[in-house]
Symmetry: C2
Subunit: 496 residues, 2 copies
């Protein structure tokens, strides 16, 4: 049981450190020292935390002050505490700090039994966390420090940090969005994809990931036949698999999804016609019409994940989105600013018929209320000032330069691989020789400073993607491309 | 309102471009630029249209000519305008936009049949969206413009807008958090509630709403007996009701939740022992120990929603959180910066045993990846600079002043009502005379500029809360309290 004295005289936090202190136990000085050392070693007391003044601790524990000061002094001598003149005694920064295992580490097994879902059991897409420190990151859709519009972004941040602007974004929007961002989307962003949406037909999300997740929540129940691409975006497959027992895999050919019997049997189909993930196939206009006709005939809802729309290289104009061709209001459109501005901001959106958006607003409210409003407002201001358009031009030019380089160099450096890239895409899908194990390639390349993504993660059956990998160029500066490919070529030779 | 001057001195068409110009809004240069960009993008200003000479526009808007010329120049640099020698400045011919062909309206009935869940059918907590325009907002937990630490926040924003910092937050963290925010939480925030957490025992969320929502996803299945408070936080009840068919209502008395048979039968219990929502009851220490003992005996997991912890008035020290007393690792702790900094930022967190946090990271990744990193980093910097502690002191002093006023004035103005407030709480729970319909009171008060929250929304059976309302004072300046109560007293008299 707790000592009442502790609660009265010390900050409550010290309870869990000295709560077991007893006048009848080991010598008092030793008890104090072992309790502090234990708390420091287990990370319970973090570095730089201030200890209670010796007078207070002594009074609380009802022991002499000398006992405390001498305990503190010993711990200072031993490096667990540090004394800072005139400010007090603090926990030292002893490294490395072991993680706490004391009271709060439940046993894994016990917890497994308590979980309703076990997301960690799913296969995960993994990129090295420290990818920015690799010289040759052939990754797709990551932040590119070279292209980020730093000064223009800062201008937008400053503009939204005035007292009046803060008043506009600091409050609880409940289920609303920043009206200015909705307006900028409608006026400046969506029309680029041929989409003209009314105010009530757009909702902002925490990246396109949350957009997809909410649509799954709203449309996919335990027994809903829901179809995803295969190969396809792994987290899309994961989300749908968590929601329904009836996951189906859409048939694909060189034009993207085939509107066949699998498609017809689904209630919802999640697809990426703009650039199929991961093959980058662009679904041609005739196929788009065929998909929409089948969707109407068979009453299939389509979620169009147009994740990289604005990052696309405008090589000779993009095709209209499925959503823009949809005459029956059954395409739910998902977009994102992650690829083209920065993933760290987490801003995406859904365009859908009004009844869907109304329901999503309530769903979003109980899931997280709304995406942070300050970021919405900063992005809106960034777009409103014309910076977005300017940024797209700059990024587009950079992507065009890089894609030309890639096209020119690949036959030379990867002659044994088959590469393909849909029009406008900023990554390539690469099929190595049958003998190649792409997982091994990824590891060999990594050791040479080159990052590429293994292909198997995109397939429901990993074996089917064994000799595939993805080669992105949206995050690698042009001058790094050739030296990177030289090293990648070495790695390919070593693992074939 | 249109400015008459505009119509007099400029061609009438410029009215719709600069009509919203205000000397009190965003910086003038920014206003001018965003208005022109908007007009160009929407086609309001067609290509090749000549802009007003800078001298004329400056005179019309009553601003310096330099402001106009520099705005024009920036837009020329960005390609929205072109300058033609000796003739003036014109709208550039930016890419044409495709015509809309899509039809995006869906019929409600059709959509109802497609939804797996219909969140909009649930009873919702509603506050007027424009509550900031009411003079007497007796609301709980809203943003208070008077208290927001504007300058210190701006300092933190500036500090996290350097090129290097942007590089730190702009990327995709996948399932990670800003390590600095985790550190600040561990060192400066959690110890205030007696909680010492290791790095792997904390995860950041998009407000506490997402924290609760993820815990429901992880722990509550279709048949899981899950218990919530009644009365209680309506969205908590809503979330649990969406997840399970077996919602149970915890027994409560004047000390909060009673660890009885209902409690024992639940697999998870969601509760607010710090300040019960909405009654503000503080669960005393003996009851806290009793709840923990029962939880261990009956194997009940506890989600402790400590939503207003740091906003609490430190009247004579707070009790240790349930989590800090927990020896068996079964309390999952939820906290938030919404109440004490700003709801618009959407930053909350969960402290839980490592296996839970690991699973939540994957769940969060597929739900939305991670909360925006720039906000995490700005908040971390704000705390690290000592601004958070300073802000808590300032807010605490303001709350103390307001609570003293409320305690003094309530017996005078609401003699027919029974008010109660748990120690440290920033709202009161008010029971009107049996004849009072609080919904009517809310409406009558609103017409007098006074906002209070109806109590029925907190009850599973709305009739049980018919004559209750919540009276918050965390968002109303002290000098508005008495005039507000005068008007509220009138409304009470009118509706009894």
């Amino acid at each position: 049981m707790r000592k009442p004295a502790l609660r009265q005289q010390l900050d409550v936090s010290w309870n869990s450190v000295f709560g077991d202190f007893s006048r009848d136990g080991q010598p008092l000085n030793i008890q104090i020292r072992r309790m502090i050392v234990h708390a420091v070693e287990t990370g319970t007391l973090p570095a730089n935390m201030r200890l209670p003044p010796s007078r207070n601790l002594a009074a609380t524990l009802r022991i002499g002050r000398n006992t405390v000061t001498s305990a503190y002094q010993q711990l200072i001598d031993e490096g667990f505490l540090v004394s800072r003149q005139r400010t007090g005694i603090f926990v030292a920064d002893i490294a490395p700090k072991p993680e706490s295992t004391a009271k709060s580490s439940g046993e894994d097994k016990v917890w497994r039994d308590r979980f309703i879902v076990e997301p960690s059991k799913m296969r995960q897409h993994s990129k090295p966390r420290d990818w920015q420190s690799y010289p040759y990151p052939f990754l797709f859709g990551q932040y590119d420090p070279e292209l980020f519009p730093t000064n223009n972004w800062r201008e937008a941040v400053r503009a939204t940090s005035s007292v009046q602007e803060i008043q506009g974004w600091a409050g609880d929007m409940i289920d609303d969005d920043d009206p200015d961002l909705i307006e900028q989307l409608r006026v400046q962003v969506l029309p680029r994809r041929g989409i003209f949406a009314a105010q009530g037909e757009v909702i902002i999300t925490v990246g396109s990931q949350q957009a997809l997740s909410m649509l799954v929540n709203l449309l996919v129940g335990r027994d809903t036949p829901a179809a995803v691409e295969d190969p396809g975006y792994p987290d899309m497959r994961n989300m749908v698999s968590l929601a329904t027992r009836d996951v189906r895999f859409l048939t694909s050919d060189e034009h993207g999804v085939v509107p066949d019997q699998v498609f017809a049997g689904a209630k919802v189909a999640f697809m990426t016609p703009g650039h199929h993930c991961p093959t980058t196939i662009v679904t041609p206009i005739e196929r788009r019409h065929a998909i929409l006709e089948a969707a109407e005939r068979d009453d299939v809802l389509i979620v169009e994940d147009d994740y990289d729309a604005d990052l696309s290289i405008q090589e000779d104009g993009n095709l209209p989105s499925l959503k823009s061709l949809d005459r029956t209001g059954r395409v739910l459109y998902v977009g994102s600013f992650s690829k083209v501005v920065a993933p760290g901001l987490r801003i995406g959106y859904i365009v859908a018929p009004r009844p869907v958006i109304s329901e999503l607003r309530v769903l979003r409210r109980i899931m997280l209320r709304h995406p942070p409003t300050n970021n919405q407002r900063t992005l809106a201001t960034f777009i409103a000032l014309g910076h977005y358009r300017q940024h797209l031009n700059k990024a587009g030019a950079a992507m065009l330069e890089r894609s030309a380089l890639m096209e020119r160099l690949l036959p030379k450096y990867l002659p044994t691989c088959r590469t393909s890239r849909g029009r406008g895409a900023t990554s390539l899908w690469v099929e190595g020789p049958p003998s190649m194990d792409a997982r091994r390639l990824v590891e060999l390349a990594r050791r040479k400073g080159v990052l590429v993504e293994p292909g198997d993660i995109f397939f429901s059956d990993p074996a089917a993607g064994r000799n595939f990998f993805r080669l992105g160029f949206s995050s690698i500066p042009a001058h790094r491309i050739e030296p990177g490919l030289v090293r990648l070529a070495e790695a390919v030779r070593e693992c074939v």
